[in-house]
Symmetry: C2
Subunit: 162 residues, 2 copies
DNA sequence: CATTATCCTTAGGCAAGCGAAAATACAGGG
DNA sequence: CCCTGTATTTTCGCTTGCCTAAGGATAATG
């Protein structure tokens, strides 16, 4: 009865399912996960942010952000605007098309998980939550800034806009 | 009710922690995550498997496996050997160096998770396991094609036939 | 046999990531 | 002012991981 192994297997299934599902979503929606993430962060920040902030939030280099924003601009999802405060900075601004896309393409994991989760009994939800948080704490021990965006978007009540 | 949100947040933390940790580990051990995964699967299968099995297990195309195995061969981690049963098949065999590397670079998830998990009380382990399996089942249902995601521009369905 | 199916590789392409270094802008000290 | 240091972003060149499409061999089957 190797519970440790079984837990690991379950964990991996979770990881893998998410990964595969996101890929599907991306190819179907024409929006890749990374670009979606960028847009979601911009939205969360009130429709405009700097590349620097995006890089920090996503745990990625600025060069990467530049590339992603380039593509998003080319696709008309966001625009770049000079900041008037500090002209070194650029504001990444969500376009109407970008917002529309966000509305239509909610996070894959969310959709699926939420649907199932909310069908559960009250006590089951409580237990799952507690277990997930437990596991997250176990894995997340290092000081990673892990409060990624995709968490709250489709649910509408966003009380955690950090 | 915020339990749904909180669960999603926990899930994200798990995913992100894993991802970042694996990246770190890989760069420290000189093995990339994908290659490490290949080696781990080979090891799990008893030291030898076919590319086909790897592709299936990893949810990836065979061409991708070919590329990964190419690199692993170049690095001396695995070898290719003709199968005598079916000469279309190739066996991917872990080399000594490969095994040594695996020993030195144990699985990220395992390392971290196992350590913590085994410190838990018996009943806690049981609960975690049950919850994880539950979540895995929720996400892992293979009825993805029937999911509501992307009723929008869903032009291309099974891209993932393979 | 001749087909068809299976397994693998080749070739070419795209997305996402990185580090290094350039370009620009602010901020102070002298 | 100018000089230097620092911050922000972009550019460039590269790597990794993944894909599809198109073979090449080798079974399996009619």
């Amino acid at each position: 009865m190797d519970r440790t192994d079984d837990s690991l297997i379950a964990l991996r299934r979770i990881l893998r399912a998410t990964e595969l599902y996101e890929r599907d979503l991306a190819s179907a929606a024409g929006v890749t996960p990374a670009k979606l993430r960028v847009m979601q962060i911009v939205q969360m920040k009130g429709g405009t942010t700097t590349p620097k902030a995006l890089a920090t939030q996503m745990g990625v280099s600025q060069a990467t952000i530049t590339g992603l924003v380039d593509k998003l601009v080319k696709e008309g999802m966001v625009n770049r605007a000079q900041s008037s405060m500090d002209r070194r900075q650029i504001n990444v601004v969500l376009s109407e098309k970008g917002e529309a896309t966000l509305d239509r393409a909610p996070d894959a994991l969310q959709q699926r998980f939420v649907r199932e989760f909310e069908r559960l009994e009250d006590w089951e939800q409580a237990q799952l939550l507690s277990s997930l948080e437990r596991v997250a704490a176990m894995l997340d021990a290092r000081d990673i800034d892990a409060s990624p965006v995709l968490t709250v978007g489709a649910l509408d009540h966003d009380k955690r806009a950090n």
